[in-house]
């Protein structure tokens, strides 16, 4: 965990912009002078992860060559995994191979990437095998997310407490707090909203923050505000899958047609959770029909 001393933190802004989803900004502002070699690697990781988040997998794959440091190689694995379904199996076996290598197996970025990939595979057991020990804020935040996905907010809270002990005001701590608050629901949602509100006041609005706020609004039954936030997000990125998915949900609640957003989402992100959910629900319906008949 770099920059944890009392001195100024060179990568602070870059990390924040990345966490808050301003990926292009992160890429644009990555020219930071006087970085130590470790910091430079971390910087490159953030930049390449930003490219991945923007969907530029091939760029990452071609830019990171064999000579690059382990963390960067790990980032390259993620790009390969996400670039095509055909690559998945081979990538996963590479990841497992690397993790087994004692010289690099403990690398924080490698473990983070492994956790992310196994999360995509919905193999939470395998993911946690490598991430549960934590060690960086990123890893702990990922753990929080895994536990939320497993509906184990009790475990997520433990992870969060570790993060809070380290730095309560860290962007990832704040984000993870908001995630957990949303997962726990009820009165906690207000707090989550305030956290995102703080972010939106302090940093430029991103699709991520707008969506997060909109999700809070929807959880609180405030669909009108959610809709306007989502439309703002759609303005920023008309293809953002989460924006489209949330717009589908939101439109239904405000009594508007959702079909256009849904077909857009189906076209651009056929693998999205919502799309999958709808198609499996359709199957369900047919099955139920049979059983009742």
């Amino acid at each position: 965990m770099a920059g944890m001393g009392s001195g100024p933190d060179h990568l602070f802004n870059l990390r924040n912009t990345f966490y808050l989803g301003a990926y292009q900004t992160a890429i644009n502002n990555s020219e930071i002078p006087n970085l130590s070699p470790e910091d430079a690697v971390e910087r490159d990781c953030l930049v390449f992860r930003s490219y991945i988040a923007l969907g530029s997998y091939q760029l990452v794959i071609s830019e990171i060559d064999e000579a690059a440091a382990t963390p960067l190689q790990a980032v390259k694995l993620l790009a390969m995994y996400l670039s095509s379904p055909d690559n998945k199996e081979s990538t996963i076996s590479s990841v497992k191979e690397w993790l087994a290598d004692s010289t690099i197996g403990n690398n924080a970025i490698l473990r983070l990437i492994a956790g992310t990939i196994f999360m995509h595979e919905e193999d939470y057991n395998e993911a946690l095998k490598h991430t549960h020990a934590g060690g960086t804020m990123d890893l702990h935040a990922l753990n929080v997310q895994i536990f939320i996905k497993m509906h184990r907010s009790d475990y997520a809270e433990k992870q969060l407490r570790v993060m809070q002990q380290y730095d309560e005001d860290h962007t990832l701590t704040q984000l993870a707090t908001a995630w957990l608050n949303l997962a726990v629901g009820g009165s906690k949602i207000q707090e989550a909203y305030l956290i995102f509100q703080d972010f939106s006041e302090r940093y430029p609005m991103t699709c991520l923050v707008l969506n997060s706020k909109a999700v809070c609004c929807m959880q609180m039954g405030n669909f009108d505000e959610a809709e306007s936030l989502l439309l703002e997000a759609l303005n920023k990125d008309a293809k953002d899958p989460e924006t489209l998915a949330n717009l589908v949900v939101c439109s239904l609640h405000v009594g508007k047609s959702s079909s256009r957003y849904l077909s857009q989402l189906k076209l651009s992100h056929p693998e999205h959770v919502l799309v999958k959910r709808v198609s499996s629900a359709e199957d369900n319906f047919e099955r139920a029909l049979q059983s009742i008949a």
Binding site: P8, D9, H10, P33, A53, M119, K149, D167, D169
Partner: protein
């Protein structure tokens, strides 16, 4: 302290009751009149010999009275600067003089001849009364009421309490004594000891329970009048205090000492406040109050007085709050004051009024830096030196972290956006990012007292010091600096819409534009503290902490803003509506000119503006119109000054026939041709000669001289220039008087200088620099600065710990609940998956909609089948899907990791825990649909009716998947089913009727059945009207008569009624039916929903378990034709659409 003078020893003081003036009478006999607000000496009055101890302003007239050691009393008029008259007659030093507040009297106290007599004579106990304009009939009726004995040495001063029967006195025995009086006697209450020399003056404070005394020991002391303890001492180095005076209305005090006077007040009047949206939170009289701008509601929020249990509520216990910081989302307030060298109190305002506010206190001043974090400037005394650190705390008042300050000398902190602070230190202010621990920017400024952010976007900030305002950007790039040299800056606020900073000084409301342009908006009688600006309204707190609203004329700065923003349409409109005074135009002549041109404006104004802006062509045109010598002259001067316009200069000179100037102009422009023409105009000899000289035309000169009779001069000129023949001719004419030529001097011909440019205008360097470019440039500069900052910031960062190796990295020190160093599989057991919210939903609910939302379609459908007998689910498919989709939102979390789906719950409130799923269908939507359906029905065309059926059907299809909360709503839903069912049946019959044109009997029957559906009155009327017509046309007069009668009972429209009456009349004559219908209106019936035949009472029928439509028995087992969902005649438990039905 407000104001200080230096002069000779001050012996007497008097405040002017209205104006910010104070009179000070000096030991030297001079009386000075000061304006303490502007800190200027207005006037001096010198007529007394020797010290003047008493001065007093008249409360209404421009007069004051003075009495001196010269035994004289003088009455002055300060307007005319004259001594009106002098009263003589006293035989000793005059100590005080006072006007009576009603009668034209002067009260005078004379030097006590026997100062050691231990007696006390309050100033109002008249020793001597002199009539001023008329003698009082009984001027010497003063009697000594009490003699107060107690001082050991001479009494210098005594004063009454403004309301209570108390007297306070000060004497040379260094004591201040407090006395109480009643009708008959006076006795000593207490003695206040502390002064170390003669007490020269003492008085009660008019507004607080305080006694103020001053003494020759160079101190002013403030005492608590109730507890009789000393509260505060103010000392001067070298000056003994001689006199005290209190302002009659405000709480200002003045004290005179050896080298001048001071005007001061004992408590800060500047209210502490914080702005939050529409409301203002401020501290007043021990309470936190809230003022709402829109409603002007002012209410008390919580008590904030910190006190020890037994103390009285006087200001001395806790000094007034200095700053107030508010976190609106958490409803928390931080109040910092100077108590104990700086401390803060944290209050969490309870939502419920009955609760007490949560409180926390601490040392140092505190400011919120985020919703739930605040920073405290903590001056903790270390081992040897004072260490100042920033302590970040949470709302429980617990320390979250400590941050070393970027500059150790920081003595105040201000909010600067979330996670950022402005730190004030010595001569500068820096912005400090607490999370990055980086200094983002700094600006040099005199000690900043207030920081006001432009609330719009926090991009601009105003830093207010005592005499300076600095506007800067967020990163403290300087925008402009403004100095108020004579007065002090009070408070200010941004005009949020326009980005103008509005502030108040001691005597003005002023504005400051971001480019540094400033001006006065209006003057003020008393200082106010601006809290908010909105349009042309300024909201402020006055000295008493009352909220006030002032409407100002904002047009001046709006005009300038419009110009800066190049919004010329605004500019034009403002000028047209002439809301701009000439002052505002100043500085923008070319713009103003542009607009004046368009109007029938005053030509002179136009000329002036043209001159000012250098637009010469307009000026010429304007001058031609005016055609006055003065204007031509000014035009010429300006044109010459601008150099290039010799044509205009010439024109102007010609117009005014100013030949001297004209000829010189021709000379310098080398226009010899015109010069010679001018020469020939023969306008005066001198002019001609000048021109000849300019031309270098010697012959002409000689000729002129000769013509003028100056023959010797002509001769010399001619001979010097070698015009021999002329010289000879002249010498003959002169005869003996031929002057001798000076010897030893060479002569030369004077020729006009060759001009650099001949004729025409001088070339001008055209610089098209409008007034607007300046703004753009500065904007660019700002960008540069920001880049600079960026570079600097990075350069400052040098060391950074490597990943996981830094010793100081707090990570290692943490006790992780999970084992950090041995990430082995064996050590960690992956927990089993928890239960998804949707699972919980589907376990708990008996409502089909909630099951669907949870994704359990089979359960949902089984429920619908059981409850409503629904078997045809096809129409419900899309709705079930929508319910499912609507129950989950998608939270993007960690980058490139899968999205986190979240269950959306219904009926969220701040206190709720988990709830049932949020559903996309609501009762209100169905009611909307019902209205649209009604409307379509009224329209009545085929396609409208089809649409209406579709809408009503959609209602019927939605209702099984509707969830409502209350029992009453359940009843509404059930009623809705019935209403909609009737309409679908009726409309389907009507549509059927319209199709079956070839069967008039069936047509009539369907029309007749339609009238038996339960419809809204307008629709019933339509049905009846249609049935009436159909039957009448088919000559079924009796039936038509019946419909007409029924129609008339329904309060029909006029045209309907008219037709109905006609039919009643026509059919009444012949009550027969041409054809027989299956319709007996006397016999109650229901209509079969499929076959549309009447089922009369007593006949067998079956019904739809859901929509309750009735059918002939043969339809049993079919899908209901009305709702298209349920099986006719199926067993069902009934509609379940609310959790309240289950409980």
């Amino acid at each position: 302290m407000n104001f200080e003078t230096s002069s000779n020893q001050v012996r007497g003081l008097s405040f002017h009751p209205k104006r910010p003036w104070i009179l000070s009478s000096l030991h030297t006999g001079v009386i000075q009149l000061w304006d303490y607000r502007m800190a200027t000496l207005i006037d001096t009055f010198e007529e007394h010999d020797g010290p003047v101890r008493g001065v007093h302003f008249h409360h209404s007239q421009p007069l004051f009275v003075s009495g001196g050691d010269d035994y004289k009393i003088k009455v002055w008029n300060y307007k005319t600067h004259k001594c009106l008259f002098t009263l003589l007659g006293h035989l000793d030093y005059i100590r005080t003089v006072q006007f009576h507040h009603e009668c034209p009297w002067i009260t005078v106290r004379v030097w006590d001849i026997a100062p050691l007599r231990k007696n006390n004579t309050p100033p109002a106990d008249e020793d001597d009364i002199m009539g001023l304009t008329q003698m009082n009939s009984d001027p010497f009726d003063a009697t000594v009421k009490y003699v107060l004995e107690g001082h050991d040495r001479g009494v210098n001063w005594a004063a009454f309490h403004p309301t209570l029967p108390l007297i306070v006195s000060g004497a040379d025995d260094r004591k201040v004594k407090l006395w109480r009086t009643n009708e008959t006697k006076a006795w000593e209450v207490d003695t206040l000891r502390g002064h170390s020399s003669n007490v020269s003056s003492v008085m009660f404070h008019a507004k607080h329970d305080l006694i103020v005394s001053n003494s020759e020991d160079k101190s002013i002391r403030v005492w608590d009048a109730t507890k009789r303890t000393e509260i505060k001492t103010f000392r001067r180095e070298n000056d003994r205090f001689w006199i005290l005076a209190a302002h009659p209305e405000t709480n200002l005090l003045a004290a005179g000492h050896d080298s001048g006077l001071i005007v001061f007040k004992l408590e800060r009047e500047r209210p502490a406040f914080a702005l939050s949206g529409d409301s203002l939170l401020y501290a007043k009289d021990g309470f936190l109050r809230r003022y709402e701008y829109s409603t002007q509601k002012d209410s008390q929020v919580i008590p904030i007085q910190r006190r020890t249990p037994d103390s009285s509520p006087s200001l001395n216990q806790s000094p007034p709050p200095r700053t107030l910081s508010y976190s609106p989302t958490e409803n928390a307030v931080l109040i910092s004051s100077d108590l104990d060298g700086g401390s803060y109190e944290l209050y969490i305002i309870p939502k419920d009024r009955s609760e007490d506010a949560k409180r926390g206190t601490g040392g140092g001043s505190a400011v919120f830096i985020a919703r739930n974090r605040f920073a405290v400037l903590d001056k903790s005394t270390g081992q040897e030196e004072v260490v100042v650190v920033l302590v970040v705390k949470n709302l429980k008042n617990e320390v979250v972290k400590k941050i070393p300050l970027p500059i150790p000398t920081t003595d105040a902190i201000f909010y600067a956006g979330t996670g950022t602070l402005l730190c004030r230190c010595e001569d500068k202010v820096v912005t400090f990012d607490l999370t990055q621990r980086l200094v983002l920017g700094e600006v040099h400024t005199p000690s900043v007292r207030h920081v006001v952010w432009w609330s719009n976007d926090m991009e601009s900030v105003a830093l207010l010091s005592k005499h300076t305002i600095i506007l800067a950007s967020k990163k403290l790039a300087l925008l402009c600096t403004l100095h108020e040299t004579t007065t002090r800056v009070k408070r200010g606020a941004w005009d949020d819409d326009n980005g103008v900073f509005i502030y108040t000084t001691s005597n003005h409301v002023k504005y400051c534009l971001p480019n540094g342009d400033s001006g006065i908006i209006r003057t003020l009688d008393v200082p106010i503290y601006v809290t908010k600006v909105s349009g042309d309204k300024i909201f402020c707190l006055d000295r008493d902490g009352k909220n006030r609203e002032i409407t100002v004329n904002a047009s001046e700065y709006m005009f300038k803003l419009a110009l800066m923003g190049k919004r010329f349409d605004h500019v034009a409109r403002m000028i047209k509506s002439s809301r701009i005074s000439g002052q505002a135009m100043k500085g923008f002549p070319e713009v103003a000119l542009h607009f004046v041109e368009e109007e029938e404006g005053d030509e002179r104004v136009r000329f002036n503006l043209a001159i000012e802006s250098g637009n010469m062509s307009v000026a010429v045109a304007s001058a031609t119109n005016i055609n006055e010598e003065d204007y031509w002259y000014r035009l010429g001067v300006e044109a010459l000054r601008r150099g290039g316009n010799s044509g205009i200069v010439e024109f102007a000179y010609q117009q005014t026939r100013n030949f001297e100037r004209l000829s010189f102009l021709y000379l310098i422009t080398g226009n010899l041709e015109k010069l010679s023409k001018l020469m020939k105009l023969k306008k005066g000899v001198m002019g001609q000669f000048h021109n000849a000289l300019y031309m270098g035309d010697v012959k002409e000169r000689v000729k002129i001289l000769e013509n003028a009779g100056l023959l010797p001069l002509a001769y010399i000129t001619a001979s010097v220039h070698g015009l021999e023949d002329i010289a000879e001719r002249l010498s003959i004419a002169l005869g003996d008087d031929v002057p001798s030529l000076p010897q030893g001097k060479t002569h030369s011909l004077l020729m006009p200088p060759i001009p650099v440019v001949c004729g025409g205008d001088w070339p001008l360097l055209r610089v098209m620099k409008g007034i607007f470019e300046g703004g753009l440039e500065s904007a660019n500069e700002e960008d540069d600065v920001e880049e600079g900052d960026w570079g600097d910031a990075l350069a400052e960062e040098e060391e950074e710990d490597g990943e996981e190796e830094g010793e100081g990295s707090g990570w290692e020190g943490l006790e992780l609940p999970l084992q950090l160093d041995t990430p082995k599989v064996s050590a960690f057991m992956t927990p089993s998956q928890g239960m998804a919210v949707s699972q919980i939903w589907s376990q708990e609910s008996l409502l089909a909609a909630e099951q669907a939302a949870a994704g359990s379609f089979d359960t949902a459908m089984r429920l619908l089948n059981r409850q409503l007998g629904i078997k045809n689910f096809a129409p419900l498919k899309s709705m079930l899907l929508d319910l499912l989709i609507g129950s989950q939102s998608y939270l993007p979390a960690f980058s490139s990791s899968p999205v986190v789906p979240l269950a959306v719950e219904r009926g969220w409130s701040e206190s709720s825990s988990r709830g049932p799923p949020a559903l996309v269908y609501e009762l209100s939507q169905q009611e909307e649909k019902l209205k649209s359906g009604y409307k379509a029905t009224t329209s009545g065309k085929d396609e409208n009716l089809t649409e209406a059926v579709r809408l009503f059907r959609s209602i019927l299809h939605t209702i099984p998947l509707l969830v409502v909360e209350s029992r009453t709503e359940v009843e509404e839903v059930k009623e809705l089913v019935t209403i909609v069912k009737e309409y679908i049946l009726g409309l389907k019959m009507e549509l059927k009727r319209r199709e079956t044109r070839d069967d008039p009997v069936r047509q009539q029957e369907l029309a007749a059945y339609f009238t038996h559906c339960n419809l809204q009155p307008p629709h019933l009327r339509l049905a009846l009207f249609s049935a009436m017509g159909v039957c009448y046309r088919a000559r079924n007069l009796a039936t038509a008569y019946n419909f007409a009668k029924r129609l008339l009972e329904t309060n029909p429209t006029e045209s309907q009624a008219k037709t109905a009456r006609q039919i009643v009349q026509a059919a009444g004559r012949n009550m027969t039916d041409a054809t027989e219908l299956n319709y007996d209106f006397r016999n109650p019936f229901v209509i079969c929903g499929s076959t549309y035949v009447p089922i009369y009472r007593g006949q067998k029928d079956v019904s739809c378990p859901y929509c309750t439509a009735r059918f002939v028995p043969s339809q049993e087992g079919n899908i209901c034709a009305i709702c298209d969902l349920a099986v006719i005649g199926a067993e069902a438990s009934g509609l379940l659409c609310s959790p309240s039905q289950v409980r």
